[in-house]
């Protein structure tokens, strides 16, 4: 529901990810982090929920 609301506001859905990972699942952790990093990097630097102190 959080992802849906963020998307409803116009924030790209790919910025928010969920996963259940046990501390015993190191390989899964690496895979998920890689996937998330790739997906988020593919998007432009977020300007929507970022504070800009130069203003």
């Amino acid at each position: 529901m959080m992802g849906n609301l963020l998307e409803h506001m116009g924030v790209e859905r790919d910025r928010l990810h969920f996963s259940w990972i046990s501390s015993a699942e190191a390989t899964k952790f690496v895979d998920v982090v890689k996937e998330i990093s790739d997906k988020v990097r593919a998007l432009d630097t977020d300007k929507k929920f970022a504070k800009d102190y130069t203003k």
């Binding site: 529901m1 959080m2 992802g3 849906n4 609301l5 963020l6 998307e7 409803h8 506001m9 116009g10 924030v11 790209e12 990810h17 969920f18 996963s19 259940w20 998920v32 996937e35 929507k48 929920f49 970022a50 504070k51």
Partner: protein, 318 residues
């Protein structure tokens, strides 16, 4: 609307005289046109102060959790939406059923004061209503309008006008509405592309002054320390940076996910009339579609974000 005020006063006078409740929480006449104010009546003689009309738009469930005596009951006037919030309070262990005497009021809706004010170029000096007819006066002119056309948006979308829990009903139940498109406003936003949507929400909150009237009028917002008031660590800035304003509204809405009854008190309280329901309505739609859930309808069931069920949608989890 049958404002049923005489019946309400009789019921309250009786309750207070018999000592069945220590106080009655209701509405009193306001000091300016189209205003009403929440009031606590403890003396039988004061029940004459109680009113009920088409601008009792705040949610009295907001006053219940703080006002509980150590022993005994309090009475509270509850419209359909208010009664659902009382159910939520009970489900969330903020109050127990035996502490409340609920006076149910079937409601035909509250009027949108801003919509009425927009009909005039100067200040309104008088307002009166008789059934569906509203008569509004300002120094420049007098207008007669139909209440149906001046209803608040949440009241037009309301499908639970009759209280779901009560000890006594102050009037006969009213017919419930059926809506073809119960979430047309949410759909309209969803149809926009992402940048348009972002622009919509920026435009929506451009005049927000962080007064927190929306939060404080909301019966669901009863946390002893709200997330925006935390300082160790501080999660959200207190200034007017757009990111802080967005975060406040987004996260407050999310804290009400699956709990909001769309009572409209937030919009009613806002000094700018910002329709913060644009945040919560999306969540209400999702709660219904993903979990078949409407807040405050059933005292026995746990809310969906409160319990785990193997059937819960989980295609978003890796």
């Amino acid at each position: 609307m049958d404002t049923c005020i005489e019946k309400i006063r009789t019921i309250c006078a009786d309750l207070l005289a018999k000592g069945e409740v220590q106080k009655v929480i209701g509405f009193a006449e306001g000091s300016i046109p189209m205003a009403s104010r929440p009031i606590a009546v403890t003396a039988k003689a004061d029940v004459e102060k109680l009113v009920f009309n088409s601008f009792c738009g705040l949610n009295l469930a907001n006053y219940v959790a703080d006002g509980l005596p150590k022993e005994g009951k309090i009475a509270v006037l509850a419209k359909g939406c208010d009664s659902r919030n009382l159910v939520t309070h009970m489900v969330e262990n903020q109050v127990s059923r035996d502490q409340l005497y609920i006076i149910g009021i079937p409601c035909t809706g509250m009027v949108d004061k801003r919509k009425i004010a927009a009909l005039f170029e100067d200040d309104i000096t008088d307002f009166s209503e008789a059934g569906d007819t509203l008569t509004i006066v300002s120094p420049q002119k007098k207008e007669t309008v139909s209440k149906k056309e001046m209803l608040r948006h949440n009241c037009r979308m309301c499908t639970h006008r009759n209280p779901v829990v009560f000890d006594v009903m102050a009037a006969e139940p009213v017919e419930e509405q059926t809506l073809d498109q119960p979430f047309a406003d949410v759909d309209r936003i969803a149809a926009m592309d992402p940048d348009e949507r972002w622009a919509h929400f920026q435009e929506l909150t451009k005049n927000c002054i962080r007064c927190y009237a929306c939060r404080n009028a909301c019966p669901l917002c009863y946390c002893p320390t709200c997330f925006v008031d935390e300082s160790a660590p501080q999660w959200v800035g207190k200034g007017q940076d757009k990111t802080d304003i967005n975060t406040f509204h987004f996260l407050r809405a999310f804290h009400c996910a699956g709990r909001c009854t769309d009572c409209g008190a937030c919009v009613e309280a806002c000094p700018m009339g910002i329709n913060v329901r644009d945040f919560t309505r999306k969540l209400n739609k999702d709660a219904l579609e993903l979990f078949g859930w409407e807040a405050g309808m059933d005292m026995e069931k746990r809310p969906p974000l409160d319990v785990y069920s193997p059937d819960d949608p989980d295609d978003f989890i890796k």
